[in-house]
Amino acid sequence: MFTNVIRRCFVPCLIRRSLSIVSNNSTVSSSPIRICVIGSGPAGFYLTQNLLKLSQTIPTTIDIIEKAPVPFGLVRYGVAPDHPEVKNVINTFTKIAEHERVRFIGNIHIGKTIGLKELQEFYHIIVLAYGSSVERNLHIPGETTLENVFSAKDFVGWYNGVPDNAQLRPQLNHTDQAIIIGMGNVALDCARMLLSSIDDLAKTDITDIALDTLRQSRIRHVILVARRGPMQVSFTIKELRELTKLNGVQSMLNKEDFNQIDQIMIDKLERPRKRLTELMLKTARTKQSQNNAERFWYLKFWRRPKQLNGKTLVESVDFEHTESVANGDFSDPNLSVQPNGTIETIPCGLVIKSIGYYGVQIDPWLPFDTERGIIRNRQYRIDDRPGFYCTGWIGRGARGVIAETTTESHTVAKRIMEDVEQGHLTNLHDVKSGGDGLIALAKSRQIRCISYEDWKKLDAHETNLGHTKGKPREKILNIQKMLELTAS
């Protein structure tokens, strides 16, 4: 009887204990968890920062992979030259990149040099943070056939030194009127570049090519045109305020466009939209008296582009006037509009389309929503791909400033670490080589990876070159040259 008791109580107890010893040993793995973050813009860096904070007691390494030879994504190539304070985040990113558990690996094109599935050999967890780099198009006649019609992505790339846009050659000295289609922050950036004083721009990190072209520009009127009304604008207040305060530039908003907005409507709005609308109202209603104004910017609402006209260069744009659909609410952010039959032709010598971006499917194995241009995911976990996550624009759509991406990265990091701690990822005990394996594979495919130290050499070169011209930096525009300078 005694032996029965022993067998029934003691043995299971022993078994449980020995099992727990085994499992304890295997969680105290000598091999760290390898995390790979694809994309080195704000999404990638802020996620890494949060992962570092949450993984202090779990051995982890984080590699930040970047397609370009240089880090920082849109902070380098998107943020306007006259917004150097926004680029201060680079100092935070540098501290993250130089953390002992972090490694920056540049010049690796995931989906080309190496497939996403292959990456799993080296990493336990992969986070896609590569943003949205393709511009939306209008799909109207003349858009692709006429000269001097650019997407904002290319125009911004041109003044910001994106190698692929170095040869853009916008012509700005044969016309005094430009049309920008779209009313987001990127549209305002383009307007500001066209209207700012050259002396101000000369002190920024705008490329020399762009500076020279803008110096000879004869553009004096920049018209931003949107399909809907003032309550549907996408730009934010800081950027709008900046434009209203630009030296020598007069804001030309129509009072009539704001007649339907009353205090009741305004009071119902959330604070950011409320303050933005109030600023537009104030700008429209205040008698502008900048007597020395030589340049002008306009907001024209309720106009959808139908056709671009011209012989070789663009000469005008036909717009169809729109109105809200039946029962549409003037202040509805998702307001739908329909044409009302009127067509208007606005002359111009330059057209910039700034109507948004979408992401690309970098690998066919990635579940992708082609219509929305985002990776299919539920709460940042990529559909049917355990161990794969996404953060930033590629997971939620190309909207929002850096602050929103920063906020989101807290949640994504928490989600990933929850999955780690609750045992939802089954491969964590496998030993993986992380960056060492990836770099060796890349080398075998004739790709030389760029480390953060390599970037710093190029960084120093660009900074020194800029200082000789009174600029914070002069960006190198040629990929080959960039690679050479990272090796010196």
Partner: protein, 135 residues
């Protein structure tokens, strides 16, 4: 001998005066971080509250990303309403950035815009929780 004693007393007084006037450059404030930990910080008069966080080497994630240039909202702090009312109005540009702050309250300010004054002795500044802390 007497001269020596008198001189050393005189010098002591001077030393004390100098020391106490130096200590007048700092006041004590309390900062409550995101884990609700109370931190006593020395705040230099004339500096701003972001400087105070940095000078005291407080470990608050992402605080002050744009380094005090009104290009972000990461130095968001909440004050009690009595103290808040005594601060000078925020400039428009600060309000523009506060628009983006997570968990904005009627007594929120950006730390980089609060200039430390002697009257702020023992004030409490709360660093509000971030998104993931809400869960």
């Amino acid at each position: 001998m007497y001269r020596l004693i008198i001189r050393s007393i005189f010098n002591q007084n001077l030393f004390l005066k100098r020391y106490s006037s130096n200590s007048n450059n700092y006041i004590n404030v309390t900062i409550i971080d995101r884990d609700e930990k109370l931190i006593n910080a020395k705040a230099k008069i004339g500096s701003n509250m972001l400087d105070v966080v940095l000078d005291n080497k407080l470990d608050i994630d992402g605080f002050g990303a744009c380094e005090g240039t009104l290009a972000c909202s990461t130095c968001h702090v909440v004050l009690d309403s009595e103290n808040y009312k005594t601060l000078p109005e925020p400039v428009e540009e600060e309000n523009d950035m506060l628009d983006l702050a997570f968990g904005l309250t009627p007594t929120s300010r950006l730390a980089c815009q609060i200039i430390v004054e002697p009257r702020m002795k023992d004030w409490i500044f709360v660093v509000p929780k971030d998104v993931n802390d809400q869960r």
